[in-house]
């Protein structure tokens, strides 16, 4: 059943706020097809536009592409931690390393509640760490921060 601390977030939330009232565009990255379908539906239910990617390299390709006019601007990336090849942590680092993308909030999801893993991600600049399986309440929390909802 659900555990106590399902989500951990860093203190700064100002970068989350979107400039206008449009639907946020979220890039969701997960190698598991079931989890991709689930996160996509959860995000759509929270009025987000969603693009999914099955791995880090494809996610980066899409993200960089949006700067060249392919696809609309990404307002947030949500990624699984455990992925073969490039992990979610490595993807987070790549996003934070590039001046073009470092302002994009990145949320990490994981099925394992490992404090050192969580801290490592938050230290690298992740906005939030969420435990899987994902629930509607987790996603509502995220999107509320993104759209600066009160309460």
């Amino acid at each position: 059943m659900g555990s106590g601390c399902a989500a951990h977030s860093s203190s700064s939330s100002s970068k989350w706020v979107m400039e206008n009232g449009d639907e946020p565009h979220v890039l969701a990255v997960d190698d598991n097809i079931i989890d991709r379908k689930l996160v996509e539906k959860l995000l759509k239910n929270s009025s987000c536009k969603v693009t999914t990617a099955e791995n880090g390299p494809r996610a980066l390709e899409f993200l960089y592409g949006t700067f060249n006019g392919t696809g609309s601007k990404v307002n947030m990336v949500i990624t699984d931690y455990c992925m073969p090849g490039m992990t979610g942590y490595e993807l987070l680092k790549k996003i934070k390393e590039s001046s073009a993308t470092k302002e994009v909030p990145v949320v990490i999801m994981s099925s394992e509640n490992i404090p050192t893993r969580i801290n490592k991600c938050l230290e690298e600049g992740a906005q939030m760490f969420i435990l899987k399986p994902l629930k509607q309440s987790d996603v509502k929390k995220l999107t509320c921060q993104l759209m600066n909802c009160k309460g």
Partner: protein
């Protein structure tokens, strides 16, 4: 059978699936995501789960059968299956995967083989149970009724 009776039968069946540990809260999350724009969401997700699981189970059977088992590969597959089963609320399958991973870590081939059988069995039980559930749902909808919303009262 009239709609009210079918709906009560569905509720009783759902309750039993929770009581017996086949499903957990996460399955209710899936149901709550089903709406007019996505009336078959649960069935779609579960179908993806079947496809993905069967591939993983087949691969596990092959990998554990050969000499010099690649435990890293076995663990990776079980991790995937654990993740998917957890995401749809398939509690008993998930728990069987957790036990399996522990033996992978120990490189215990005998126990891994036993765990694989256990996971397969739990998967089969779940598949049968869900097919019964979905059949009940089809009957309710065909009779003009709607599927009740489960409350988390247990």
């Amino acid at each position: 059978m009239e709609v009210g009776q079918m709906q009560r039968q569905w509720v009783d069946y759902m309750r039993s699936l929770f009581m017996e540990g086949f499903l957990d809260d996460q399955f209710l999350q899936l149901q709550q995501l089903q709406d007019e724009s996505n009336p078959d969401f649960v069935v779609e997700v579960v179908s993806l789960f079947y496809e993905d699981s069967e591939k993983l189970l087949n691969d596990l059977t092959k990998t554990l059968d050969t000499k010099g088992t690649d435990f890293k590969r076995v663990d990776a597959h079980v991790h995937q299956l654990k993740g998917s089963s957890s995401s749809i609320g398939a509690q008993r399958v998930k728990n069987a995967c957790i036990a399996f991973r522990n033996f992978c870590e120990e490189h215990n081939i005998e126990e891994c083989l036993r765990c694989l059988q256990q996971v397969k069995q739990e998967y089969c039980f779940l598949k049968n149970k869900l097919e019964t559930l979905f059949r009940l749902e089809q009957q309710i909808v065909a009779a003009g009724g709607s599927i009740p919303m489960m409350e988390l009262s247990f």
